[in-house]
């Protein structure tokens, strides 16, 4: 058996000294290039009824992670729509973030091993933040469990408080959930990313899909030269079909299952596989998974395993755009934004029917769903053998994302929620 060190030396790693500077973020009008002017005008019409209203976003970090990434785009775009938007991140000591990390894992179903005093520590830090921050906005949007107890700051008849939950609460550890639930139930509403992630609560629960930014480095159209150079850099043959899964090296993403599906496909069609992601250098489990993947791949030079640094958005974009089929064979999944990215790029996608994926991949309409390695292999073969069908799925997929999973749709949902709250309560705050 190959040792883990030897295995890792065979993996292509790209580790520049420092990430390149990010390009400036796009303005609202630039989105009309992908959405049409009418859709942007419609957003402005919705927002015109909220002109001057204030929104306060609160989460646990200003940088890193999916929530910060979304807020980094959403806040300036909402400001362009003449809303007064403020964004704060709560602060806390290492003990607080150790507790919230344990909360996060427990809410995903793991056991909770911290002592009961941790709940008090959690509340103490929430209280500190409550005293430090001001909560005078018309709409207070509190993101995820870390700041959930800030609802204590709500004054009677003042502002609408909304809890935005970005995580899957379908199978939570009940000790942690039972602690949080009374706080959540005091909000005016809760937002989930999928019906499957929600709980039975005493407050209205809204469905807001997560979103991608079509003008970001990861999703914008790239010049063909750049795509060709990227393939060349990773020694990928541009003349043969390419199957790609973009995911961190995690067992729940089933990269070994993807290799097995690829081996079945290769019996029929001469093609290549790319497994690209990160997480193998700073995560002991990621290293182990990477070793398993490499072992499953054996000496097949048509399987390209790429351990990419976090600032590889352009490379990932290029790989997705160069792909013939995009795969997401997860065993468990949140919403699956890598699927959204593939669909947006008009690619035929074969994905597991887990988490938020069925909301995106409507079987035989916007992609193909599969439930096994064999099923995944069959659908890939089918799409490679039927390029016209693959193209039609890709076109439908692009439209599906355009309508539902772009940052502009997300903003539209926020505006609609704000309008709904104002209309249904005549400004008395959460309908009280």
């Amino acid at each position: 058996m190959t040792s883990q060190t030897e295995v890792l030396s065979q993996v292509q790693r790209q580790t520049p000294v420092q990430p390149p500077p990010k390009p400036p973020a796009a303005h609202l009008d630039e989105y009309s290039k992908v959405l049409g002017e009418a859709e942007i005008a419609e957003l402005r019409a919705l927002a015109s009824r909220l002109r001057g209203r204030s929104v306060h976003m609160v989460n646990s970090t200003l940088v890193g992670g999916g929530v910060a990434e979304i807020l980094n785009r959403m806040v300036p775009l909402m400001q362009e729509l003449d809303l007064s938007v403020r964004w704060d991140a709560i602060t806390g000591g290492e003990d607080f973030f150790a507790i919230t990390k344990a909360f996060h894992n427990a809410l995903h179903g793991e056991s909770y091993r911290l002592p009961d005093e941790s709940f008090k520590t959690f509340l103490d830090y929430n209280l500190q933040n409550q005293q430090k921050l001001s909560f005078d906005a018309d709409f207070e949007m509190i993101h995820d469990p870390q700041p959930a107890a800030l609802i204590e700051a709500r004054r009677a008849n003042k502002g609408f408080w909304i809890w935005r939950c970005h995580i899957d609460l379908s199978r939570p550890n009940l000790k942690v959930w039972n602690f949080l639930e009374p706080y959540v139930n005091r909000y005016g509403g809760a937002i989930f990313s999928s019906p499957a992630f929600s709980r039975q609560l005493g407050i209205p629960q809204y469905l807001f899909y997560p979103s991608i930014d079509p003008l970001s480095e990861k999703n914008r159209e790239l010049p063909p030269d750049f795509i060709a150079q990227t393939l060349e850099r990773f020694q990928i043959d541009s003349r043969r079909p390419l199957i790609t899964q973009i995911s961190r090296f995690d067992r729940l993403k089933d990269p070994v299952g993807v290799v097995r599906a690829f081996n079945i496909v290769k019996r029929y069609i001469d093609c290549q596989l790319v497994l690209a992601g990160g997480g193998a250098t700073d995560d002991p489990e990621g290293e182990a998974v990477l070793a398993e993947v490499k072992e499953a791949a054996g000496k097949d030079s048509d399987i390209h395993i790429l351990d990419l640094p976090p600032w590889s958005a352009l490379e990932i974009n290029a790989l997705q755009q160069a792909s013939s089929v995009i795969v997401q064979k997860s065993l468990s999944e949140g919403f699956g934004l890598t699927v959204t990215e593939g669909l947006w790029k008009r690619k035929p996608v074969v994905a597991s029917a887990v988490g938020g994926i069925p909301s995106q991949v409507i079987h035989k309409h916007t992609g193909m769903l599969a439930h096994s390695i064999e099923g995944t292999a069959y659908q890939i073969r089918f799409l490679l053998a039927n390029p016209a069908i693959a193209q039609r799925l890709g076109e439908n997929a692009h439209e599906h994302v355009r309508e539902h999973f772009l940052i502009t749709s997300d903003i539209r949902r926020h505006l609609t929620l704000f309008l709904h709250f104002l209309r249904s309560s005549s400004g008395n705050g959460n309908g009280s």
């Binding site: 859709e39 005008a41 419609e42 019409a45 069925p358 309409h365 709904h420």
Partner: protein, 223 residues
């Protein structure tokens, strides 16, 4: 451009758009028996969301997609015959959600009666009954003549097209749409109204439906 050019409406067509919030309901189904119960107990807004609005949400699909119920029965329950029956329900035939609910539930119940062993079989994925809250917003422009109507139609966002052309049927309680109603009532163009109403929303995308309406209006303007 003789008659229509000088026809000016007494009341203008007010272009509006609607934006929808999706509310996650309390009913779920893991098999056809649960599903039938959910169809009976869910809100009218839920029936509306999974049928009329499903059509709007998937307007870019022109084949084989009718409503969320049929899609779930096909993909999660693997019951193509029942899925086909549910998919064949044409929302244009309904001006009341009560009737639509009754027909959908009867279809499921009859299937389960004929196939008693399948009603309790677990689906691959749960069905979540959701519903929507609608927020209507005027777009800030109107049309007094057919020519103005034509010009505005070209740049109408999808939300507004869905609002005026699909979901309007329930609002009007008629087997018609806002555009047809206006050109008939305000401009006296009965034939144009009928032809716009004939456009098949199941085999067209919203964009192709828009193109078809524009073509009909242009033909009228050339008269």
């Amino acid at each position: 451009m003789s008659t229509t050019e000088i026809s000016r409406a007494t009341e203008p067509f007010q272009f509006e758009t609607a934006s929808y919030l999706i509310l996650i309901g309390n009913h779920t189904a893991m098999n056809l028996a649960d599903f039938s119960m959910g169809l009976g107990n869910c809100s009218d807004a839920s029936i509306f969301y999974h049928t009329f609005q499903s059509l709007g949400r998937h307007h870019f699909l022109t084949e084989g997609f009718s409503n969320d119920f049929a899609q779930w029965v096909l993909n999660s329950c693997n019951r193509p015959a029942l899925a086909e029956q549910l998919a064949s329900v044409d929302v244009r035939d309904y001006v009341s959600l009560v009737e639509l609910r009754t027909d959908l539930r009867r279809t499921v119940d009859e299937y389960c009666k004929q196939n008693p062993n399948v009603s309790s079989q677990s689906a691959f994925e749960k069905f979540y009954f959701c519903e929507t809250v609608e927020e209507e917003v005027p777009l800030g422009f109107e049309a007094w003549t057919l020519e103005e109507f034509h010009d505005r139609l070209k740049d109408l966002p999808h939300g507004a097209l869905e609002f005026h052309f699909i979901t309007s049927r329930l609002r009007l309680q008629l087997r018609s749409n806002d555009f047809s109603q206006w050109v008939k009532k305000e401009l006296g163009l009965q034939d144009l109204a009928r032809k716009i109403d004939q456009i098949d929303i199941y085999t067209n995308t919203l964009d192709s439906a828009r193109a078809a309406i524009i073509q009909l209006v242009e033909k009228e303007l050339r008269k």
